[in-house]
Symmetry: C2
Subunit: 911 residues, 2 copies
């Protein structure tokens, strides 16, 4: 959207009565909703909106569009005529607020100027009309201050200092105690500051105030912090903002006035019925300042039943109209209710599911629509263990909810202690002002991480999310004294070793141990609805039913199948319970760990062909049993087994450790373990500077004969055994790390031969498709050729991301990504959510090319992106057949696949 | 080219008189040239060619095209009528040869059957006509043997055994001594073998012999070895072969008969004038068997002046007609000269240059054409040092010319000895039966490698070429006795420590030390024509002049500029002498090696901001001097400097070594060097499992502030100093490893600021373009975005190959590539010659996308492919502006860029 030449006829100013909610592009979100409420006949103070188009013209050319002034004049005239008051009139002045309102909400980023229209004359008219001298001068004082800072760019501290001085003169402690005369003097002081600092008098012409305020809102689009915010949030820089000019109403004109915010349902739990806060005799800023306690809507009903009743009526109307949870801002001015804003309200994950289900029950929305109102991320949040809501807890403080979950442990203040205590069996929480790469091992050892500094993109937050550790960060009230080995929150002192509980989903920090309970949603997913709701309270049971309903609908709706990444029969069985329709990735290297490592050592150290063959034979027996169990667990469902992917030396001991052991034994005259010496030789020989790009997977198969053949034999024999036992094995074999079709042709020669031989010997028909991972850029770029030899593709988006970006996940994620997120290189790690521009374009190319060669070629994805909500939508759009992900991400993928099938991205449900 | 349905009218048989040389697709190379010679009126024995189309039909359907039989009948009838003899006639029989002839030569791969037409009757006619009983029966014996083996697939050993028995019976030692009666008996024995083994009698019907022979040639296209050969040589499998049926002529009918091969010029040196070998009273196979000494063409002139004169006349005619060196096969039958074959002749690199220049002098071809007759590979061969041609040498044996150069050294038989002797200052030649990855370090330590097993794609050959070591492989006469530590060639025994010389360009192995001299072509390139030709013999001087002439023409012709990869002023000056038009890549990490490492250690170990700043400041001073020297050497020419690319820990000591040192010191109660301990800490902390994909280049710049700024300041200050000194610095700054445009935006903020500041302070205008490497797939895939922030692109095809293929060059080349070349995954390492399908497609995409965003965006390449002939052509075609390569590859790149500018790939000049 770029600035185009505006014709003189272009309408740049819309009265609230002219627009509607569909016009957010032109009127901004706030303006469009004000127009919608006006159109519905709700009590909105009249006003008008200057369009984003006018703003874009101004930003591109540095001057307002030529017709803007006259259009504002006309709109202002209509407003004045309607209200019977003139802007800045000396007797009974009209005052207006001037607020920004972009298409996408950018909270706190842009400018607002209230009380425009006040000057040395109209301040008196306001005092008379309001019968409140102090109120009028305070309003004027605020205008000069806001105008000076915002429009004229004067340093805010100058006004603050003057206000402090005024309080001192008046001998009072708070702003509200400054009397009218003090405020009148303060206005003079402020005007003096304006004249001195800006070289111009504070404009007494109300219209000049208005024009400058509008321009200042335009300008605020391009402040440094707004640009940074947009870059981070990936909001285009060329949208521009609209400007809403609205007649002022006042909630601070006595006890029959007041202001509040409300939700049409409880946004925390999703319970039906209005929910909100109200503060009598106050303005919006007072609510935010939290000086006095707010009252509930129930209290308002007792104090001002008429306003309450009207508010409830309006909220019901809005919800019916918007067909979703709405939040509103309202003001009561001497008993008259005014609506100042509405929008679709933000809500918690639990509320999102419950509200969506309730709205279906109420026949407000369809099940399809309900599905678009919840997200996979929200479902994932509901699956974390949580603190037992019934148990008491002492809230210490709050930080940022950086990585979800509930963690309990002894406080430790450094990585070494974390490691040693964890090794001794303790659960620990690593507490640091902030973390650095040096803390990595401590974070791995800890149950959770707590920091007093840094936001959601800090090192601690990024790394903790990456490794699935619960994390609360930026809890600024916490003072960590690593020397004394204590942390302090106010007067509370927590010593190293004391137990603390942190909630990474809410940011809460509790003293002592809070009991943790599994999520009822997980109980439902694993064991079904009936088991899950047993003994639950009404809210929790209602939530579980809502999840069940929407997840079942997603299953009915989706086109993408969902498989699991699972390496053991146990994982496979769990995945099946969680809704997996097959296994998309069984990583066979996990089968070579533990005590089986010794077999790989034997293989690597084998000095004769016989020893080599013996080691392979021993592995064959074990592998066949592995596969037999797996195929039994997945009977009837497709099961994709990836042949050995890891380099052999990954199963051998660490090179440096071995070298040190051998060298120390030699230096101290001890006996060197001959096995150590032989292993060291093998490790040195096989050492690679970049094993990720080294001798592994299909390359290993082509260099070390017999390895793949052994695995294929184990698979084929397991399948034959299942058939003999009356089962329905549906196994598929996947070749990793193919870069050239020739590699695949060569190993297929071996693979197909072994399968045929086993089938022949067992006397059964074995239908075992052989496909390949697409996990190297070259495979994607030559997918047309590779499809000649592959019966299916499975995109290995982890490795594909590593090579496309040239990022080794293990190496760079901790050290670089925090910095990259901070600096806006990306908004989310490309290992977490698929990089559509780079990796995604390879996926699309390869999918198309593969199917050109082999129409109907089955396509799946088995990288961790298969369980990431945003990525699932991409894979749906790219035409893939299935995603495969770790068992606990399966419900997330099912839900997102259902949402994706409903068409265009509806965006975040709480947008 | 796939088999299509043939219409009944399709012409499947062409008389030699019908075709011409342009029809190699249809008639095969041999058939087309036979037709061409016939068309020119040269004395070719008459015959006809069965087309490749007929072959493709047969291969696709398993039966000959329906009209083939009648077309062969007609062609045969024309042949018989013309010669007045009938195929297999009992009185005066016509005999024919049946030979394969594909479009592309596949030497020795397919079948030939001679003497078709002989049977129990016609053998007598032949004996009468030739007046030579023995000759006739020997011809018949050969037919039955060849037919049995080739057409009927009978094991050749059976015939050989029978022949041996016949010799024993006759009491003679050689085949030629077996008398006519013995041969007559042998025919009976052979026919018996045929009947027993194939279950059918040897066909007496000459026409049946002919048809079966033709079919057998068709079948020979698809033998296993032919398929393997084609896969390696990347010849399509669906071309098929033509079949040439030609009236037999005999060179073994007495002293007035004979056979020979000749070249129109000397293919070894390029000297003008006919050159060849002739053997009287012999057939082609006798020449190959090398039983008797051949005579030269000069000898033939004395013995048979008429035939010699006609041959010379014909060769002049052919060369004028083909406008290139031709080779021919000919036979004289009782004084009558017959031409059996001609083609463009293969030649050495030196001959290629000289012949091309001579043909220009002779007004036969243009300079443009001459340029297409030589290749960059040939020029590169001429640049290797060579053995002093004047010095004597004792030729021991010959192997394969596997990696060019001349190497002299002590013979060693294992890697450990190679390393220890080299460490002691000796030059060594590593001699092994064959090499394996265990020999890698020995190969690095050796001056050359000699093996007795393995071909040009063996491990030794591939690895030696990759590391630029001279190598002769597969010298099968050498018997290596590693136990006794000797090698034997026949009776000659060479012990470990004895000196041997090997010529990797010819495959020759000499006993003793041969003096090595630099190539006169290199002398010319570095010091000019006049210096180079001083004291050279006529042939060498003529060669240097030819190179000069063609290289200058390439410079006039090419569009691609050629720059150098050079890191020092010295290299830069050499590159300039060799024709570099700038520096495309100055790698600054090389400036941090040697004694400067300690500065990097200080930087890494810096514990305060001050210490960090101090370490950077020390580096700044050194870097500025580096750049000042470089810009002085390259004054007036573009000089692209790449900012630091390597990870910092690359400058630190090896982790395992340090750990061992520290652990041993601790274990033995010694004092641990505190610097070692601190370094070990830093190395452990910075250890990466895949540094290639880790924290380096632009990532390091974004995480460790000040690093790039220091380098940019050094560059800008050096440029400013050059301007102050009256120079013309044309420096460009290149940012490595960019994956996202945001990275480039961020570092450009820093870079542009430093340049502006230096320019301001120095009071000069600094015009320093800032561009980026395209060396990650993501950079190529998002090149449109990256071009927003890059003023030029330089393709880093080394890293791009690593990530596109997922191959770490260091790790896999030695171990995997030999296996991959052997198995046909690729014909050349993708690090040596650009992989067009994968990496090349990214280059094309990025070039197009970059220029869409920024028209005219300068594009270069600075990977090692910039000096590879085949890759240079690709870069020309892809529209790049320049290639950059190591100094000694510059002439190669200049020549290839000139060739590329001439249009379509003319293929290898010797094809």
């Amino acid at each position: 959207m770029t600035a185009t030449s505006l014709s003189r006829a272009a309408q740049l100013v819309f009265d609230f009565a002219e627009g509607d909610r569909t016009q957010a592009d032109l009127l901004g979100g706030k303006g469009a909703n004000l127009a919608e409420m006006t159109r519905l006949g709700l009590p909105v103070p009249p006003g008008f909106t200057v369009t984003t188009e006018a703003c874009r013209h101004y930003l591109a050319r540095g001057t307002e569009p030529p017709t803007l002034r006259e259009q504002v004049t006309a709109a202002l005239r209509r407003l004045e005529d309607r209200l019977g008051r003139r802007l800045g009139d000396a007797e009974e002045p009209l005052l207006v607020s001037v607020r920004s309102g972009a298409k996408v909400s950018m909270p706190g980023m842009m400018d607002t100027i209230l009380n425009v229209g006040l000057n040395d004359h109209s301040v008196k008219g306001l005092a008379a009309a309001a019968q409140d001298e102090r109120f009028a001068w305070d309003s004027y004082r605020r205008l000069v201050q806001m105008f000076g800072r915002t429009v004229l760019g004067i340093r805010g501290g100058l006004f603050d200092d003057a206000l402090t001085a005024a309080k001192a003169r008046a001998g009072v402690a708070t702003d509200v105690e400054v009397p009218a005369t003090g405020l009148r003097d303060l206005v003079e002081t402020f005007k003096h500051i304006v004249a001195t600092e800006s070289g111009r008098e504070f404009p007494q012409d109300p219209r000049e105030q208005l024009d400058l305020a509008i321009r200042s809102v335009f300008d605020s689009w391009n402040t440094e912090r707004a640009r940074i915010y947009r870059r981070r949030e990936r909001i285009p820089h060329d949208l521009g903002t609209a400007v809403n000019v609205c007649a002022m109403v006042f909630g601070n004109l006595g006890e029959t006035s007041g202001t509040g915010v409300a939700f049409t349902r409880d946004p925390a739990t999703g319970r039906p019925g209005g929910y909100g806060d109200y503060l009598a005799n106050a303005q919006g800023e007072d609510v935010v300042a939290g000086i006095r306690n707010t009252m509930s809507l129930q209290d308002l009903a007792r104090q001002d039943p008429a306003s309450h009743a009207e508010l409830m009526r309006i909220m019901r109307r809005l919800e019916a109209h918007y067909r979703d949870l709405c939040d509103v801002e309202f003001t009561v001015e001497r008993g008259k209710l005014w609506m100042l804003q509405t929008r679709i309200g933000k809500r918690t994950a639990a509320a999102a599911f419950r509200i969506a289900a309730h709205l279906v029950d109420e026949h407000v929305i369809t099940l399809d629509e309900a599905l678009t109102r919840v997200t996979g991320d929200q479902l994932a949040q509901l699956m974390f263990p949580q603190f037992d809501p019934g148990a008491a807890g002492t809230l210490l403080t709050r930080g940022m909810a950086a990585s979800p979950g509930a963690a309990v442990g002894e406080v430790v203040f450094d990585s070494a202690t974390a490691i040693s205590r964890a090794a001794a069996g303790a659960r620990v929480l690593l507490c640091r002002r902030e973390t650095s790469p040096d803390d990595l091992e401590g974070m791995i050892a800890a149950a959770g991480v707590l920091t007093s500094r840094g936001g959601k993109t800090s090192h601690a937050a990024v790394v903790a999310r990456g490794m699935g550790r619960t994390c609360v960060c930026g809890a600024e009230e916490i003072d960590i004294d690593a020397e004394q080995r204590v942390l302090r929150v106010g007067d509370v002192v927590i010593a190293e070793g004391d137990v603390v509980s942190i909630d990474g989903s809410t940011g809460e920090v509790f003293a002592g141990e809070r009991p943790v309970v599994p999520s009822p949603v997980v109980t439902y997913l694993e064991h079904g609805l009936d088991t899950a709701v047993e003994g639950l309270d009404a809210d929790a049971a209602d939530l579980v039913r809502a999840v069940d309903r929407l997840l079942r609908h997603a299953d009915e709706t989706r086109r993408l199948a969902v498989r699991a990444n699972a390496d053991t029969a146990e994982d496979a069985a769990r995945a099946r319970r969680l809704g997996a329709q097959g296994i998309g990735l069984c990583r066979t290297e996990h089968m070579f760990l533990g005590e089986r490592r010794v077999l790989i050592e034997r293989l690597v150290l084998a000095e004769s062909a016989d020893a080599h063959a013996e080691a392979l034979a021993a592995l064959l027996t074990l592998q066949r049993d592995d596969f037999l169990e797996l195929l039994t667990a997945m009977d009837g469902l497709p099961t994709t087994i990836r042949l050995l992917d890891a380099p052999l030396h990954e199963f051998l001991p660490d090179r440096t450790e071995l070298a040190v052991r051998v060298a120390v034994a030699e230096a101290t005259g001890g006996t060197v373990d001959p096995q150590d010496e032989r292993l060291l030789g093998a490790v040195q020989r096989r050492h690679e500077s970049n094993p990720m790009l080294g001798l592994r997977a299909v390359r290993l198969a082509l260099v070390v004969p017999g390895l793949f053949a052994m695995q294929v034999r184990a698979i084929a024999e397991a399948a034959a055994a299942r058939i003999a036992a009356g089962g329905r094995p549906r196994v598929e074999i996947m070749v990793p790390l193919v870069a050239s079709v020739m590699e695949l042709h060569l190993v297929r020669g071996e693979i197909d031969g072994v399968i045929a031989e086993v089938a022949e010997r067992a006397g059964v028909a074995l239908d075992i498709p052989v496909g390949t991972m697409i996990e190297l850029p070259r495979a994607a770029l030559t997918a047309d050729r590779i499809a000649e030899a592959a019966e299916f593709f499975s995109f290995g988006t982890n490795d594909l991301t590593q090579t496309t970006w040239g990022f080794s996940r293990d190496d760079v994620e901790a050290e670089i990504f925090a910095s990259y997120l901070e600096q806006g290189v990306f908004t989310v790690s490309p290992f977490e959510s698929l990089d559509r521009d780079g990796v995604g374009s390879l996926v699309r190319m390869a999918a198309a090319a593969g199917r050109r060669t082999r129409p109907g070629l089955p396509l799946g994805v088995c990288g961790e992106h298969g369980g990431d909500p945003g990525s699932v939508r991409f894979f749906h759009d790219a035409g893939l057949d299935y995603v495969s992900c770790s068992p606990y991400r399966i419900p997330v993928a099912r839900l997102e696949a259902g949402r994706a099938a409903l068409g265009d991205d509806p965006g975040d449900a709480t947008a």
